[in-house]
Symmetry: C2
Subunit: 182 residues, 2 copies
């Protein structure tokens, strides 16, 4: 099943090429009160295929309860063009604000998980929680990406990397070196 918006499938074995560089991402969940989205920088790849991602979602974050209850989320990768929205998303809580409506971000039904796909992101990863053993001590969840989508309309895929207190490094020059690593 494909999502309603004009997303195209992103091969699962390419997911790591988007997460490994360490961009700020958005994490969407579906709670009792509706859909919510937060900004996140504490995440890493754990496995290439099937793609698995670890992330830290604080127990103080409104998203925590829905993530633990549904064992599902969507990770969206916002381009530089969304930077101002990303910071606004990070500056408030879903407890008080309907962020999708307030910041004019479309939410699309995800085919496989109980969480929305995030409009404006050039990639959206549908994830299920597969390990919670480190949640109590570190708020660390391990996710498996079960489906991945990209928005072919978004061609400038430069991302932002958070250096603290609203300072971000934007992707600059690309360099290629003769690596034997995937």
């Amino acid at each position: 099943m494909k999502p309603a918006h004009g997303f195209t499938a992103l091969p699962l074995d390419e997911v790591y090429t988007l997460i490994e560089p360490g961009p700020v991402v958005l994490l969407a969940t579906r709670g009792r009160a509706g859909d919510n989205v937060m900004a996140m920088s504490w995440h890493m790849m754990v496995e290439f295929t099937p793609p698995r991602i670890a992330c830290v979602v604080s127990g103080g974050d409104f998203s925590f309860t829905a993530l633990r209850a549904n064992r599902a989320c969507v990770i969206g990768i916002p381009p530089l063009a969304m930077a101002a929205q990303v910071v606004k998303i990070g500056n408030c809580s879903g407890r008080n604000v309907d962020k999708f409506a307030t910041f004019d971000i479309p939410a699309y039904p995800a085919p496989q998980v109980k969480a929305p796909l995030i409009g404006g992101c050039f990639a959206n990863l549908e994830c299920r929680v597969i390990d919670t053993r480190l949640v109590n001590r570190f708020n660390l969840f391990v996710l498996e990406v079960v489906a991945a989508w990209q928005d072919p309309v978004i061609t400038d895929r430069r991302t932002i990397h958070h250096k603290g207190y609203g300072h971000f490094a934007v992707d600059g020059t690309d360099i290629t070196l003769p690596s034997r690593m995937p």
Copy 2:
């Protein structure tokens, strides 16, 4: 105790500002045969203070045995100027190569942990392993940074971010947005 080289202390509560943007880092360990270093991109912050970092070190990596046995390592953050050395480090194994000698990288004694500080890196983090519950399933270690050093001589602190197969994004423009997040 301070290291012999001209490193200066990096405040522990600033460590996350270096790891959170997702640069390629180097991980140094001390094994029976000597010191070894590998390139790593699968890491994330887990806690601000004390700084805690999760990382994935494959069971196939030569560093895995020493990391598990000593429960200690050093994470070095290489500047763009080290990119060629970083890729060479990633292209071979410590099983066959003394990488510090071969790639002309100085190793300095670390005051607190059984692993060397890495010359050429603008920051070095002395780390102890504090949780191994996800090692068997995911090769995921949780580390605590017990001391951190910076090299004041290295002023160009642009980093590289791996996008797969030797393609790297180099830090470009810095932008600042009015964030309420640390």
